[in-house]
Symmetry: C2
Subunit: 310 residues, 2 copies
Amino acid sequence: MSSTRPYCAAADWGTSNLRLWLLRPDGSPIRELRSEEGLTKVADRNFAGVLDSKLLELGAPEDLPVIICGMAGSRQGWVEAPYVEAPAALADVLQHAIRAPHPARDVRVLPGIAQNGGSHPDVMRGEETQLLGLGERAGERTVCMPGTHCKWVSLDGSRVTGFTTFLTGELFNLFSSASLLRHSVDPAARVMPDNADFLQACRELTAEPDQLPARLFSIRAASLLQGLTPPRASAVLSGMLIGAEIGAARKSFQSANLVLVGAGRLGQLYETALAMAGFAVEIAEAEGLVRSGLFAAANSFWPSPVSSAA
Amino acid sequence: MSSTRPYCAAADWGTSNLRLWLLRPDGSPIRELRSEEGLTKVADRNFAGVLDSKLLELGAPEDLPVIICGMAGSRQGWVEAPYVEAPAALADVLQHAIRAPHPARDVRVLPGIAQNGGSHPDVMRGEETQLLGLGERAGERTVCMPGTHCKWVSLDGSRVTGFTTFLTGELFNLFSSASLLRHSVDPAARVMPDNADFLQACRELTAEPDQLPARLFSIRAASLLQGLTPPRASAVLSGMLIGAEIGAARKSFQSANLVLVGAGRLGQLYETALAMAGFAVEIAEAEGLVRSGLFAAANSFWPSPVSSAA
């Protein structure tokens, strides 16, 4: 039996999860691993030890180089990779990668991007690697990356010209489980993109995003007065929050050319909402982008893929 | 020693607090009591017993009538006083009071007001009594009642034509103690109305209330990138939330004649914010209004104040 030596390992190491791939010289994955050993679960800051044990599980050579993105590069992570300042070319992210201390491997950690000038400071760490994975294209694009903290990014070619973080996913969780609305909303309801309550609330708040604070309580009132059920209330809340996000974002982000990074049900909710708001939407898949971005970064550090037979 | 028999007792009985007064025939308070025996702390639904024991503490006669507002009239309270539907004359509230079961006293519980028509349902229970306490005046007024759940009300003479509840106080508590922002915000900081961070954030969000979801995360980013301290972050968050509320509200509520119901620091923050937004503000004090409203209601039930010497 023969096996090709992997080109490199690639990791997205966040606060609560680790995703790890062995990549071929062409960037395709050989094997992958998902673990809940996020950074906060690493004892005694033994990041190198945890990484090695996971790479051993995947059968990686002991000297295989590793490229990492995510919170591993934060101040509380393995090694701080200070933010690159926006506006920034994505190539700047590669140039500011930091080597993490490791006895045997070449381990590089990618920095995030900070928006420090102006009155609306913001940060990203991990999403810059997805942007790298999008590949170069001329002209202006908007990238929307839904999740707990949804990032909207303006790209001009491969240059990040500005971005904004919306807490939409976190707000949904907070409102549906910790606010007065918890009595009315079923946080576990699976809202589908053709849900009429979702669509109506989304359309209304996209048109009048300033009315979000004036509408939240109406969910509670509708359950008291009109028998709005908890699953329906969940659809209304989801529509309000996504609608208000898009209504606010379209003032600052161009709508002609938008890449939506997201799969699954949440991606579909955003796709529907963005289309209603007049955005021309192209879909990309988050995990594929991270891997592509990490591979692109690896190629900048280790330009000649080594291929050998074991 | 001689004492005048009180005209009636008046209570604002909410979920977590009870305030109780003995009133003279002219409506002025003889004695008062504040207790944390809110409705949720009453065992075995013994509301009459708890009320009697508090009235005994105040030295009230055993047959003294009692007028009550607040959540005591909700479905989960002592006796349900179903909502009056807006638009509603405040006199309708009096006509729909409900007698609570009591072996010796005449106890009346005032209903709240519901806004059930249209697409923005809302409810109030307790605030209608403060509106009663405002007294009649011709013409249109806006009433703003800050708190955990801030009510904005449109009055035309003594008619409630519409109202909206903003969760502003609850949002501040949630964001500063349960969201990602908790790492950056000191929820206990005492923000003063001349605080420059408060004023700037408030002015910005009053002008662009739709940008609230796009600005929340900047508080976290400013603490990471610019050393924004937790007390300053608290002022920014407070300014953002109050500014966004006022920016949203002024689309629906007239600004020429506004009564702000609120004392203390929170009232001052609103007073400053409302003035910046161009509202002509007159101040009223919440507790005095509740008492006046309860007295006005009592007069409608028991029109001839009994005065006797004991």
